[in-house]
């Protein structure tokens, strides 16, 4: 029931927003078309500004993947995580998730079809994927948009959140599905 409601909200949020803001603007005597165009100009600049940051990040991630580093890191972590009976099948996904959105989506899809969508592995993979974002991509794009190069503690905080989401997904899935 609640999920149905949220579904309706996410379907209608964008169109409602796109109509409500200009209507409110018109009521407040804003020249909505001119104002929109003025704001939209920023889109090109912002997109162009993030290009160098995005190139740097995606090239490094792409090279790592091509070299087979993801599997290597996964097998390096395996002995550590097998102590808490963390399934080693999920490890490549865990390594890939903060690095590449499309790469990790590919791994989840494969895990889900190999082990079945209603299997423990399938559900854990989906929960782990959905509970975090592609940290390095977000860092590159968001900081790139404002030309920030000294990122201070953002990387550590973001990666800590990734580890927590993975471990909590494991714990909660064990409680719910085992």
């Amino acid at each position: 029931m609640a999920s149905r409601l949220i579904d309706v909200v996410s379907t209608w949020a964008v169109p409602l927003f796109l109509v409500a803001v200009p209507v409110y603007g018109a009521i407040k005597k804003v020249k909505v078309y001119e104002s929109f165009v003025e704001g939209a100009k920023g889109g090109v600049q912002t997109a162009v500004r993030i290009i160098p940051y995005l190139v740097a990040m995606l090239v490094a991630v792409g090279m790592l993947r091509a070299a087979g580093a993801i599997d290597l890191m996964a097998s390096a972590l395996d002995p550590l995580l097998s102590r808490i009976r963390f399934p080693s099948e999920i490890l490549p996904l865990a390594i890939m998730r903060p690095l590449s959105g499309s790469g990790s989506l590919g791994i989840v899809t494969e895990l889900v079809s190999t082990y079945g969508p209603d299997s423990f592995i399938g559900r854990l993979a989906a929960s782990a994927y959905g509970s975090t974002e592609t940290t390095f991509y977000v860092l590159a794009v968001y900081f790139g948009a404002v030309g920030v190069r000294k990122t201070r503690h953002a990387v550590v905080a973001g990666l800590t959140a990734d580890v927590v989401s993975l471990l909590v997904a494991f714990l909660v899935c064990r409680l719910a599905f085992m």
Binding site: F17, G25, A47, I51, A66, S131, Y142, F143, A154, V164
Partner: protein, 216 residues
Amino acid sequence: MLNYIWLAMVVLAVVLGGINGRIEEVTKAAIDAAGGAVTIAIGLIGVMALWLGVVKVAEDSGLMKLLSRAIAPVLKWLFPDVPPGHPAMGSMTMNIAANLLGLSNAATPLGLKAMQDLESLNKAPGVATNAMCTFLTINTGSVQLIPATMIGVMAAAGSKAPTEIIGTTLAAGVAALAVGVAVARLLQNLPLFAVRRQEPEARPGPPASEKPGEGA
């Protein structure tokens, strides 16, 4: 930090690629990724322009200010450096709302707008502020009421109950968000992560007016 991580990634890739005999693939991946980055950025122009346009209308009509005032009590403790009524409060709120609803097409442009609004409060351009790092942590985590992509993957694979993962995904996301933000707030005061050439934190004056040409 990223200096070291980036260097480590590139070095590891070339060394491993050499050992694994995959150096040609590594080269190809580098070239392809460089082109792919531009494709992604160019693809962003349209949605960026759309959302920045609408947000500008919201700003000119005073809607953003209303929103930031309304949400300030909630966001104040997360972002103590951002004055209530500042445009950044409004754009951050819209970004967080879009993320919650899983509207990633809207979330990124609104998030970048929020970063630019936060940049108007930055006294050391090129260096991340505390508010930026906290905001980034909220965005590198993911709290989605409906993880639509994953439900789609499960359904496509023939799941009998594709929505079973909503609860577990949400729980993990919320836990990661809470810990991530706490860690960000703890680390921001460590000398290791201090802002160089730091001046006494003067409260910025009245809500900064629009600065379309913020420094890059």
